[in-house]
């Protein structure tokens, strides 16, 4: 745990301040129960589901809400026979 000890030698309040600023910026910006990234996630999955039969177990969604940029990572396994008939 040497890395944490390294951190603990410095003051921890600035870290707390920064974490809260990022978190609250996202929570305050959230409109109608979901923030933008969450909304994108839902719509992306809906679009894919229109064309492909998506198995819930084969979908991994990861988010990282950052200070200036957030990342949304949607990982979907699409078997060849899953494509829905047009």
């Amino acid at each position: 745990m040497s890395i944490f000890r390294f951190f603990s030698k410095q003051t921890s309040a600035p870290t707390a301040r920064e974490r809260l600023q990022v978190l609250l910026a996202h929570e305050r910006a959230s409109v109608g129960h979901s923030d933008l990234v969450a909304k994108l996630r839902e719509e992306i999955l809906a679009v894919i589901a229109k064309h492909v039969q998506v198995d819930g177990d084969k979908v991994t969604v990861k988010m990282d809400r950052g200070e200036t940029v957030s990342t949304l990572e949607v990982d979907i396994e699409i078997p060849l026979n899953a494509v829905r008939a047009a």
Partner: protein, 271 residues
């Protein structure tokens, strides 16, 4: 066999969330697959204490309502790959946590984990009773202070009445975790002593966690106190408590808040 632990107290602000994160990390460090589950719907905080607040995608209510599968909602800890978090919902109301939904989630978690630790909300309402519902073991977090002890007594009563085990005529294994303990004040007679609390509540003691700024520091950093600095006094207390919960016999001590500089140096060298 999966074991379900509820961390509960009745009273708010006594250290349930801190203890859930600390014990969760301590059990996961034993290489046993552990999930910490936040039952505080509407006021989640376990994600912050665990340092996972930026990564929450789905929560327990999404799983109950079928919007997400359980594996999608679980967040793996970045430091320990045996430790997972199931967050509470921040936006839904408390009623979205249903008994049937919680039962479904618990049944599935039991298939995948060795330890399931439920962080109870304060109070004795729905959230608190659902958090304890499936518990095999209860960790009753108590501060050496009159209202906390009274509320703990109330919670002990609920554990004997409202849990699945109680309804089957079995007992929930109960452990008292005394937190925010200030030995100097107890010795001066300004604070209830360990023995006072034990005598009143008459359940076995699993640990004494001293009042310590290391707890605040860990929460600032977003790390369970047992991971932030595993030689700090509260970390030592939680690590021992976790070993006792896992069935080991460990002599009871009150890890001191202040160690001299030499003690600190040697303590760290020896690690």
């Amino acid at each position: 066999m999966a074991k379900v632990i509820v961390v509960t107290s009745g009273k708010g602000g006594v250290g349930k969330t801190t203890s859930t994160a600390a014990l969760g990390a301590a059990l996961a460090q034993r290489n046993e697959k552990t999930v910490v589950v936040d039952f505080d719907v509407g006021l989640r905080n376990l994600d912050l204490v665990m340092g996972a607040e930026r990564r929450v995608v789905y929560d327990i209510v999404n799983v109950i309502q079928g919007d997400a599968k359980l594996p999608q909602a679980l967040i793996r800890d970045k430091r320990l790959d045996t430790l997972f978090l199931l967050p509470a919902s921040q936006t839904r109301d408390k009623d979205s946590l249903t008994p049937e939904g919680v039962e479904k989630v618990m049944t599935e978690l039991k298939k995948h984990f060795d330890w399931i630790i439920c962080d109870s909300p304060a109070g004795i309402e729905r959230g608190a009773t659902l958090a304890m519902r499936h518990a095999d073991i209860a960790v009753i977090v108590t501060n050496p202070e009159v209202s906390s002890v009274r509320d703990s007594d109330r919670i002990i009563g609920l554990l004997d009445a409202k849990t699945e085990r109680a309804e089957r005529g079995e007992r929930v294994e109960k452990h008292l975790l005394l937190t925010r303990y200030d030995q100097a004040r107890a010795e001066r007679g300004d604070m209830l002593k360990v023995d006072d609390v034990l005598e009143i509540l008459s359940i076995p003691l699993v640990g004494i966690v001293p009042e310590s700024t290391d707890v605040l520091k860990a929460s600032n950093l977003g790390a369970p106190v047992t991971l932030a600095d595993n030689r700090s006094a509260p970390a030592l207390a939680y690590l021992d408590a976790a070993r006792r919960i896992a069935g080991e016999t460990v002599p009871m001590t009150i890890p001191g808040e202040r160690r001299g500089l030499l003690g600190k140096l040697f303590g760290r060298r020896a690690a």
